[in-house]
Symmetry: C2
Subunit: 248 residues, 2 copies
DNA sequence: AGATCTTTGCGTCATTATGACACAATAAGA
DNA sequence: TCTTATTGTGTCATAATGACGCAAAGATCT
């Protein structure tokens, strides 16, 4: 294995991606289980010298999920000088997570750019990276112990997601192409952590005029078959630009 | 002069601060005029190795304005690999803006964290830094030519400010302690770039219940003396946490 | 002192958005 | 065909918003 520094990564800069998915009425996050260690980490990486930071984040996302052209957004630069302490690197080496020759690279002070991403759960094929044993979805409601400040990064991403939800219909990235109104409502309820009135929810969503009926219905349940909706991309793009509710 | 790198700055990372002020019914930005060069730059700096990134930004802000505990917020990490080109550094050296021995430091690829700040215009004492000739306010409506991508950074900060304005009463940071409703309205109109109805504006602002009357009025105009308001800090803090309009 | 000018404070009214809730329609299984 | 669960579509009262009118009050001018 080569030395990371020699391979030409931007010094002192790392990336952490909080990848959200929606499955079984739960919001889940894609996490990596460290080798020989009962700690989990956010997918992330470093920035090749010839690559933009956003580009490198998209690349990292692609490697873990197999997906391209995915919703991915900066939310905070974690720049506390104590966030990557020497003790942590020592543990990484001792447990064989990283090789001895990479110790100097990992011992740098890192400033980490936090990204959050919204993906369609069913399309993801989780792939572990070189320092992890496996990669899997974990519900936000039951998170495993995580390395250094990754739990804080995750929580901050979640707060940002909640806030963005008020302004932009970002949730489209979490759903499959066709979905029912109830599925969308459950997603909202899950993210916001509260119950919403079915009839008022429907009225509000439809008032944005970003959904169109597919003409199909979902059959199989022992009840009235619900309409399947999909996005009207043109109108959606306009809503994204202008915001759903423009004050003043 | 010492070598920047040896002085212990975090490598490849810089800061740019877009400092907004409100004066003479205009939104203005604090800019630095480069030495021997008709180009302007945003105040910024580098991050000392023992200092947090946010902390370093606050320090840079303090040095240019003399102000502490000021509204300062990250808005975007500029991470394009081409943003600091070799040609630009060559110019800096040739024009004597930076010394020859600093050339290697400035020739690094920099990733720059963008911050925007809101300050009370009258409290600022602009101070130039080592690479600039002077430091002054420039109206957003008539910006001078700027180095590398600083114009883009500035515009992006302005877009962010406009957006935040819908969710949070961040504008308080731009006004003096006591102000009239009309002054506040003019500020809104300036930032948003559109006229608002005086009576509806008043109703909406007061409905947030973050302002209290001081009991004083501003005299001197050839008309009815307007009430001077100030913030109710407690209520304002709550509004900041919850957002002014919580959807759902 | 009174007229004039300008901006302020505080309303009204019509329209729209929101919250709470009711009821008929329908897919699947008994 | 009957039952059950869930869906589609309403209504109604209340709150928020947009458009606009008018009297009150400082300062200046006559």
């Amino acid at each position: 294995m080569h030395d990371f520094a020699l391979e030409g990564y931007h010094p002192g800069l790392s990336l952490d991606c909080v990848i959200f998915g929606f499955h079984e009425n739960e919001l889940k996050v894609l996490l990596l289980k460290m080798k020989n260690w009962d700690k989990w980490a956010l997918p992330g990486g470093f920035v090749p010298k010839n690559m933009g930071v956003d580009e490198a984040a998209a690349e990292a996302l692609f490697e873990r999920t197999g997906l391209k052209d995915i919703f991915l957004r900066q939310f905070y630069l974690f720049g506390n000088p104590e966030r990557n302490n020497a003790d942590h690197v020592e543990k990484l080496v001792k447990r064989g997570v990283i090789q001895e020759n990479l110790k100097s690279w990992f011992s740098q002070r890192f400033v980490s750019m936090g990204y959050y991403s919204l993906v369609e759960f069913s399309k993801v094929t989780p792939v572990p990276d070189t320092i992890s044993e496996f990669c899997e979805w974990k519900p936000l409601s039951d998170l495993p112990p995580m390395i250094i400040d990754h739990e804080e990064i995750l929580q901050r991403a979640y707060q940002t997601l909640k806030k963005e939800l008020d302004d932009e219909p970002v949730w489209l990235n979490l759903l499959p192409e066709k979905f029912t109104m109830t599925e969308l409502q459950t997603l909202y309820e899950t993210i916001l952590g509260k119950q919403l009135d079915r009839r008022n929810f429907r009225r509000k969503i439809l008032s944005w005029e970003i959904l169109v009926e597919t003409g199909e219905r979902r059959t199989g349940g022992r009840h009235k078959a619900p309409i399947l909706y999909q996005f009207d991309l043109e109108k959606y793009d306009r809503a994204l630009r202008e915001g759903l509710k423009q004050g003043w």
